[in-house]
């Protein structure tokens, strides 16, 4: 059990890293794009904007709490 936990934690840290909100945000943005595509909307512009918004929020969280 200990090894499994360590293994999963390693991969979590490897892919997701310090800010899990980015991962959640990316998946949420993808779901929205998928829904728009189903409606026939080519929302290619959404993902770059969403990524910038997530990055800005993540950086802001660090900057705000740093001393």
């Amino acid at each position: 059990m200990h090894y499994l936990k360590s293994f999963l934690l390693f991969w979590y840290d490897f892919v997701v890293g310090d800010d899990w909100m980015i991962a959640v945000g990316v998946v949420a943005a993808l779901i929205i794009v998928a829904l728009l595509v189903q409606q026939g909307i080519q929302a290619w512009w959404l993902m770059p904007l969403a990524v910038i918004a997530m990055l800005a929020a993540s950086l802001w969280r660090v900057a705000r709490t740093a001393h």
Binding site: V15, G17, D18, D19, L30, Q42, W44, L55, A63
Partner: protein, 257 residues
């Protein structure tokens, strides 16, 4: 060579170079303090293990339908790439300390000297293990990039070529200069890799959902330029915030009193 193929080689080359520089610091420290045989065998074993991972997972990933692969791998690449980019922006703006290869090398040397030297089966296992771990863990990120980029482009050998060239270059320079490569602009390289990984992550993840990018492959350059421009803006903004924070917490230092 297409735009995406050029960026593919460039991204794997830069990612591999920056990780190889970090791994080299560990191998050099072990070699200088405890002899070269065990750390070199450790580094070779780790490189072999990484090659086996790429050889095993590469063909398996190729069996997945291309659109599923693009969504899954593109998403992973985007999350992974944003991590690199985020850290690079924080380092460039002063919110995170820059990696100092020379200081890390000194620390590794001190630890290696203090550690007990026990030879079993002709091997110094401390040197072997640290060297293996250093190369394997740094290389795992490169293997991930080679696999994700390579499978999505349908060209793992080209992705591996970029990584292999960088590895060879760093190994040759390391062997010649015999000290950590602290002059390599690591953060700038990480910044570039983060931008490229995020760009391809955005491009592939939603292409797999059925999005048709305006300009097709050329859209990659557009996304890259857009991300780069905004990221430089973030660095400038955060740098100013960091300076303000330093001024508020240490007013005497800044005013020179």
């Amino acid at each position: 060579m297409t735009t995406s193929a050029i960026i593919l080689v460039l991204a794997t080359f830069l990612a591999s170079a920056v990780e190889a520089v970090e791994a080299l610091t560990v191998v050099l420290a072990m070699g200088v303090t405890r002899g070269w045989r065990s750390p070199l065998i450790g580094a070779a074993a780790a490189t072999l293990a990484l090659a086996v991972i790429i050889a095993l997972f590469g063909p398996a990933l190729m069996l997945i339908p291309i659109n599923v692969l693009r969504v899954v791998v593109g998403t992973l690449l985007l999350i992974f790439g944003l991590q690199w980019l985020r850290k690079a922006i924080l380092r460039a703006s002063g919110f995170k300390a820059q990696r100092n290869e020379a200081a890390l090398y000194e620390a590794e040397i001190e630890e290696a000297r203090a550690a007990e030297k026990t030879i079993r089966a002709g091997m110094d296992w401390y040197a072997f293990t640290l060297s293996f771990k250093g190369v394997f863990l740094e290389g795992l990120e490169v293997a991930f990039i080679v696999l994700t980029f390579g499978t999505n482009q349908g060209n793992i050998p080209l992705a591996a070529l970029g990584a292999g060239l960088a590895l060879a270059l760093v190994a040759i320079i390391g062997a010649l200069v015999h000290r950590p490569l602290s002059n390599v602009p690591e953060n700038t390289m990480k910044f570039a890799v983060g931008l490229m990984l995020s760009t391809f992550g955005i491009f592939w993840s939603i292409e797999g959902l059925g999005i048709e990018w305006p300009g097709e492959d050329l859209a990659i350059l557009g996304i890259l330029g857009f991300l780069a421009l905004v990221s430089f803006g973030f660095v400038a903004l955060l740098r100013r915030m960091h300076q303000q924070q330093v001024r508020m917490t240490h007013p005497a230092t800044v005013t020179g009193e």
